[in-house]
C-alpha cells in the first residue's frame, strides 16, 4: 500500500484505504443496512426502539467488520481451527445451559450479551475447511473430503440437537461451498446429492413434529390456513398485494394490522415487498447481487487457497441466506428460520454477517502487489 500507517490520510478514499475498507463492499453493505432500518421502522409498527436497537447493532457490526479487516488474512487461517473448537464447546454449553425459546435451546446468556453460538460455527466452518485445504493439493482427495465432512458434521449434529434445522442446513451449506470451491469432483457432488435424496425419508422420521408440519405446509399451504400455513399464506398475500409499485412505506396493511407474523424478523421481506413492490424487490436483489459479485471478485483476486476458498464460500453463504429467506417468504421453499441478511431484526446475524465481510476486506486489502 502506498499510504504508510503514520501519515495522515488526505482524502476520504485514502482514509478508507488506510483502514483497509473496501469502498464498494462497504457502500453496498451500509446501503443495505440503512435500508433495513427503514424497513424495520415500518415492519415493527413504527417502533423507534426497534430501529435504535438495530442501528446500534449495525454500528457494532461495522466496527467489528473494520476491526477484522485490519487483521492479516493468514491469522484467520491459523486461528480458524481454534475458533472452531471454541464454537463446538459453546454449542455443547448451549445444549446444557441454554435458554429455551419456543421449545428450542439456541441461546447462551452471558449476562451482558445473549447470542446464538451456532452463528460462530456458521462463520468458522468454511474458514476451517479452507484452512485445512490450504496445504492440500486440489481437487481434494477422498480422505480430505472425509476430514472436511467431519469438520461440518460435529457442529451440525450439535445444532440439530437444539433443534435448529435451518442453522444446521446453513452450516452444511457454508462448508459445502468451501468444498465446492476446493474443486470437489462433480461425480462426488452428484453422488452426495443422490445420497441426500435417499436419506431424506430417514431425516423425515427424525424430524420434530413442528419441522414435519413446516414441510407439509410448504407442500400445501392450504392444508392448514389458520395454523402452520397461516404464515406463508399471509406472506404471499403481503407480497402479491404489493404489486409493481408497492403500497408505500408505512402503508403495508398486512404487517401493520398483525396479519403477518414475525413481520420484523424472518418475514420482513414480505413487509418490504408489500410496501415497495416489484421495484423495491429488484432493487434489494441488485444490492445483494452486487455484494455477492464483489465477494466473488475478491475471491478471484485473492492470492492463496485459504483466502480464495474463504472469500468465495462466505460470499456464497451470504447469497444462500438471502435466497433461502426470500424463497421461504415467497413460498418457494419451506419455512426455515433464516433471517433476511442485513435487514431482519436481530443482533447476532447482523454482527456476524458484517464480521464475515470484514474478513473479505482483510483478504482484499492485504494483497501483496506481485505478478502471478
Amino acid at each position: 500500500m502506498s499510504t504508510t500507517a503514520h501519515e495522515r490520510p488526505a482524502t476520504l478514499s485514502a482514509w478508507l484505504a488506510h483502514w483497509r475498507i473496501d469502498v464498494q463492499l462497504f457502500a453496498a453493505l451500509l446501503c443495505c443496512a440503512l435500508l433495513g432500518l427503514f424497513v424495520l421502522y415500518s415492519a415493527s409498527g413504527r417502533s423507534e426502539d426497534v430501529v435504535i436497537d438495530q442501528a446500534v447493532r449495525v454500528g457494532i457490526g461495522l466496527f467489528a467488520m473494520i476491526a477484522l479487516a485490519q487483521v492479516p488474512p493468514h491469522w484467520y487461517r491459523v486461528a480458524a481451527p481454534w475458533v472452531y473448537i471454541l464454537g463446538v464447546i459453546l454449542l455443547v454449553a448451549t445444549l446444557v445451559l441454554g435458554d429455551a425459546a419456543m421449545g428450542a435451546k439456541r441461546w447462551l446468556d452471558f449476562g451482558v450479551v445473549r447470542f446464538q453460538p451456532s452463528e460462530i460455527s456458521k462463520l468458522v466452518v468454511p474458514l476451517t475447511i479452507a484452512a485445512y485445504f490450504h496445504h492440500r493439493s486440489l481437487p481434494p482427495k477422498l480422505t480430505d473430503i472425509l476430514v472436511a465432512g467431519v469438520i461440518m458434521a460435529i457442529p451440525v449434529a450439535l445444532v440439530v440437537r437444539q433443534p435448529d434445522l435451518g442453522t444446521a442446513l446453513l452450516i452444511i451449506a457454508g462448508g459445502g461451498f468451501a468444498l465446492f470451491f476446493a474443486g470437489l469432483r462433480w461425480r462426488i457432488i452428484l453422488l452426495l446429492l443422490v445420497l441426500a435424496a435417499a436419506a431424506a425419508p430417514l431425516v423425515w422420521f427424525n424430524l420434530h413434529d413442528y419441522q414435519q408440519q413446516r414441510v407439509l405446509t410448504f407442500l400445501n399451504p392450504a392444508r392448514d390456513p389458520l395454523g402452520a400455513g397461516y404464515h406463508i399464506t399471509q406472506s404471499k398475500i403481503a407480497i402479491g398485494s404489493g404489486g409493481v409499485f408497492g403500497k408505500g412505506w408505512l402503508n403495508g396493511s398486512q404487517a401493520h394490522l398483525d396479519f403477518l407474523p414475525e413481520s420484523d424478523t424472518d418475514f420482513v421481506f414480505a413487509v418490504y415487498a408489500e410496501e415497495t413492490g416489484l421495484f423495491g424487490v429488484l432493487g434489494l436483489m441488485a444490492i445483494y447481487g452486487f455484494i455477492v459479485a464483489r465477494g466473488l471478485f475478491i475471491a478471484i483476486k485473492s492470492q492463496d487457497t485459504f483466502q480464495r476458498l474463504t472469500a468465495a464460500s462466505l460470499s456464497l453463504t451470504f447469497f444462500f441466506y438471502a435466497f433461502v429467506n426470500m424463497g421461504m417468504v415467497a413460498g418457494l421453499l419451506p419455512v426455515v428460520g433464516v433471517p433476511l441478511p442485513l435487514i431482519s431484526f436481530g443482533g447476532t446475524s447482523m454482527v456476524m454477517l458484517l464480521a464475515s465481510f470484514g474478513i473479505l476486506m482483510s483478504i482484499h486489502t492485504h494483497r501483496k502487489l506481485l505478478a502471478t
Binding site: G240, V244, S253, A273, M326
Partner: protein
C-alpha cells in the same frame, strides 16, 4: 504439511477455482431468476387476487342495527322502552383454545348459568363461526369491569353494548303491547331479510308484532379496518341506521291498570273504546304475563309454567276469546226488529216464564221463572226479558237476525291493528249449512236472538257494537295507533281514524228507543243493573248485562244456586255500556269468565272503568248526571 504444499500446482488450482466460480455464478443467476420469476408471479400476475385477499383481510363490513322505536300511551307514558345493556359474546372462530374451555375460564370472572350455556350452544349452531353469539346478557357493571381487566386472556370474547327492550307496564298491558323475542328462521320468512341483518330481536306479539315493520327501522352499515384478531381498529365508512319510528297508542295506561285491577282475581277481559274515534282506551285480558321474560329468550321452565297455567295467561281474551254474548245482543236485535217493523215498541206483550214452539214441548225459559207479565220493548230490554225476545225473534226470523247482527259487526273481525283477532260466529242458514250440513231449526232462532246457541263474539266486537249504538251508527274502526313519532325530530303524524260503514236507520228515533232502554237498565229501579251499577250515578250510563250459559240446563230444571255450581260450569258474566249518554266518551265491554251474573259481576267493573276514565277528563264536571246548566253559569 510442507511436503504437501510443495506438490501444489498453483496455476491448475487457480484455473479450477475460476471454473468453479463461473459455475457458482451461473447457479446464482438461475436461482435469482427463479426468485424474480416467483416475485413477478405474485406481484404482477396474481396481484389482483392478492390485492383482494389483502382487502378482505383488512376490511369488514358490519351491519349497524337500527334502534327500535319506542311505544308510548296517549299521555306519553312509556309502554316499551330500550334500556342500555351489555352482553358478552363469543366468536367461536377467534377463541384461542376451545369454546368450551373459554366458557369454563369465563365463568370464573362472570356468572354463567346452565341456562346461559344452553342458550349459547343452541344459538351457536345457527350462527356462522365468525359471528358472535351471546353467552351472557345484561352484565352487571362490576362484571363488565372484571371482564375488561382480563380481556387479553380471552381472544374472541367481547362485550357488546346494546339496547334491551323492557315493558314498564308489565302484565297490565302484556297482550296489547306484546313483546319482542329472538329472531327465528320462521320469523325471517315473512320479512325482508336484509332489514334484519345484525338485528337480534323481532316483534312476536301485540303492537310489537303488528307494527313490527315500522318500529324496526332500517339497518345501516359501517366499514371497519380490523386487525388479525378481528378487532375493529378504525372506521373507514359509515352509513348510519335509520331508527324505527316510535308509536303513540290510544291506550290510557292509568285506565288500563284500573280495568286490570277491577277484574280482581277473576279471569276476564275489558275493552274500552273511545266511540268518537274507535281508539282503544283500555284492553285488558286477565291474567296477564310478564313480557320481559320473553325478550332474552324465555326459559323452558317459565314457558311451560305459562302454557300449563289453567288460567291461560298467554291467551288474549279481549280479541281471541269467543263467548256467547248472551243478553248483551238484545239491544242490537231490538234495532233490527224496529227497523223491519215486526214489532211496535209501545205495544205490551204477555211474557210468561217460558214459551214453547208449535209442535214441540221444549220449554224456552225466561231467566225469571215467574215471567215478566205485560211489558213493552223498553221494559223488555231493561228487565232483559227472554220471552219478549223469543217472540221478537220468531217475528224477525234468522235471516234478519243475521243481517242486523252482521251490521253491528258480529261474526266479522273488527280489523283492529293487533294480531290474531278472532271473528266469532254470527250464525245464519248458510253458516249452519256450510259448517254443520244441517238446515236451520226454528228453535235455534230463539236462542240466537238472546245471544246463545251458535253465536259467539269477542269482547272487542261487543265494545265495537256498543260504540255503534253510542254513535248512532257512525262509529269508527277500533285501533290502538294514535300517532307516529319521528325519533329524531319528535314530530308526530296523527293516525286518522277510519269511519266504519255508517248504519243508517230508516227512523232515527229507533236509536233513542234503544238507548233510552239501555239507560233504564242502569237507572230504572226495574233495570237489571240498577242495584249493582246504577247507585249514585256520577255520569249518565247506558248499558246492558248478559250472562252466557256455558253448559245447557237440563230441561224443566230450576236454575240452581250459583255457589253450588262448579266454577268451570258457571255462566260467563258480560256487561256492555257507554257513557255519557248524550256525548259518549267511552264504550265498554266487560267479560268475566264464569263470573255468574252479568249485572252483579261484570256491571260494577264497567262502572268503575267508566267513572275512572270520565273523572280523568278535563271536562268531567260537565259530563256528570247532576250537572245543571244554570249552576254552571253562576259558577263561571
Amino acid at each position: 504439511m510442507a511436503a504437501d504444499d510443495a506438490i501444489k500446482n498453483h496455476a491448475a488450482e487457480r484455473r479450477l477455482f475460476l471454473i468453479r466460480t463461473v459455475a457458482a455464478s451461473l447457479l446464482l443467476l438461475i436461482l435469482i431468476g427463479m426468485l424474480i420469476a416467483r416475485v413477478v408471479y405474485l406481484q404482477v400476475y396474481k396481484h389482483g387476487y392478492y390485492e383482494t385477499r389483502s382487502q378482505d383481510n383488512r376490511m369488514r363490513v358490519e351491519v349497524v342495527p337500527p334502534v327500535r322505536g319506542l311505544i308510548y300511551d296517549r299521555h306519553g307514558n312509556l309502554l316499551a322502552n330500550n334500556e342500555p345493556a351489555y352482553r358478552l359474546e363469543i366468536v367461536p372462530e377467534q377463541v384461542s383454545d376451545s369454546v368450551k374451555s373459554t366458557i369454563a375460564r369465563l365463568s370464573k370472572i362472570v356468572n354463567i348459568s346452565e341456562a346461559d350455556k344452553q342458550r349459547f350452544y343452541s344459538r351457536e349452531k345457527q350462527t356462522p363461526s365468525f359471528r358472535g353469539t351471546p353467552i351472557r346478557l345484561s352484565l352487571t357493571q362490576s362484571e363488565v369491569a372484571r371482564f375488561e381487566v382480563n380481556r387479553d386472556r380471552f381472544p374472541g370474547v367481547d362485550i357488546r353494548a346494546g339496547l334491551t327492550r323492557n315493558y314498564p307496564l308489565g302484565k297490565y298491558a302484556s297482550h296489547l303491547v306484546g313483546y319482542v323475542g329472538g329472531i327465528t328462521e320462521s320469523d325471517l320468512a315473512d320479512v325482508n331479510k336484509k332489514r334484519y341483518r345484525g338485528s337480534s330481536h323481532i316483534g312476536k306479539a301485540g303492537v310489537e308484532l303488528s307494527y313490527e315493520s315500522r318500529l324496526h327501522g332500517y339497518p345501516g352499515s359501517r366499514v371497519v379496518e380490523t386487525n388479525a384478531a378481528g378487532r375493529a381498529l378504525r372506521q373507514l365508512d359509515m352509513h348510519p341506521a335509520t331508527a324505527g319510528d316510535s308509536i303513540v297508542l290510544t291506550l290510557d295506561s292509568a285506565l288500563q291498570k284500573v280495568a286490570y285491577n277491577a277484574l280482581g282475581d277473576q279471569d276476564g277481559a275489558v275493552v274500552a273504546l273511545n266511540p268518537n274515534t274507535g281508539g282503544v282506551l283500555a284492553m285488558v285480558s286477565k291474567p296477564g304475563y310478564n313480557p320481559d321474560l320473553f325478550v332474552d329468550g324465555i326459559s323452558h321452565a317459565n314457558y311451560t309454567r305459562l302454557l300449563n297455567n289453567p288460567h291461560k295467561p298467554l291467551y288474549n281474551r279481549a280479541l281471541q276469546g269467543q263467548y256467547p254474548p248472551g243478553s248483551t245482543v238484545k239491544p242490537f236485535m231490538a234495532i233490527g226488529a224496529l227497523e223491519t217493523g215486526v214489532i211496535d215498541p209501545n205495544k205490551k206483550v204477555w211474557c210468561p216464564g217460558y214459551i214453547t214452539l208449535p209442535g214441540s214441548n221444549h220449554r224456552y225459559r225466561d231467566w225469571k221463572r215467574s215471567g215478566q207479565g205485560w211489558i213493552d220493548l223498553t221494559q223488555a230490554i231493561e228487565r232483559s226479558s227472554d220471552v219478549y225476545f223469543y217472540k221478537l225473534g220468531m217475528k224477525l226470523g234468522i235471516d234478519n237476525i243475521y243481517r242486523y247482527g252482521s251490521m253491528f259487526g258480529f261474526g266479522q273481525k273488527t280489523g283492529i291493528d293487533l294480531p290474531r283477532e278472532n271473528a266469532g260466529i254470527m250464525p245464519s242458514r248458510e253458516w249452519k249449512h256450510g259448517n254443520r250440513h244441517l238446515p236451520w231449526y226454528p228453535g235455534e232462532t230463539l236462542i240466537t236472538v238472546i245471544g246463545q246457541g251458535f253465536m259467539t263474539a269477542t269482547p272487542l266486537q261487543l265494545a265495537q257494537a256498543v260504540s255503534e249504538i253510542a254513535e248512532r251508527g257512525h262509529a269508527y274502526k277500533p285501533h290502538v295507533l294514535k300517532a307516529w313519532k319521528d325519533p329524531q325530530t319528535h314530530t308526530t303524524t296523527d293516525y286518522k281514524p277510519k269511519a266504519l260503514p255508517p248504519i243508517e236507520l230508516k227512523d232515527k228515533r229507533h236509536w233513542d228507543i234503544v238507548i233510552n232502554a239501555m239507560k233504564g237498565v242502569v237507572d230504572n229501579p226495574h233495570g237489571t243493573a240498577h242495584y249493582y251499577v246504577g247507585q249514585h250515578l256520577k255520569y249518565p250510563i247506558a248499558g246492558k248485562s248478559g250472562s252466557a250459559q256455558v253448559a245447557g240446563l237440563p230441561q224443566n230444571e230450576v236454575a240452581p244456586d250459583l255457589d253450588s255450581i262448579p266454577h268451570r260450569l258457571r255462566e260467563h258474566a258480560l256487561f256492555i255500556a257507554f257513557a255519557p249518554i248524550q256525548h259518549p266518551k267511552i264504550a265498554i265491554a266487560v267479560l268475566v269468565e264464569h263470573g255468574g251474573g252479568g249485572s252483579s259481576v261484570a256491571g260494577p267493573i264497567a262502572r268503575r272503568v267508566i267513572d275512572s276514565y270520565l273523572d280523568s277528563l278535563p271536562d268531567s264536571k260537565t259530563l256528570q248526571v247532576n250537572y245543571s246548566g244554570n249552576k254552571s253559569k253562576t259558577d263561571s
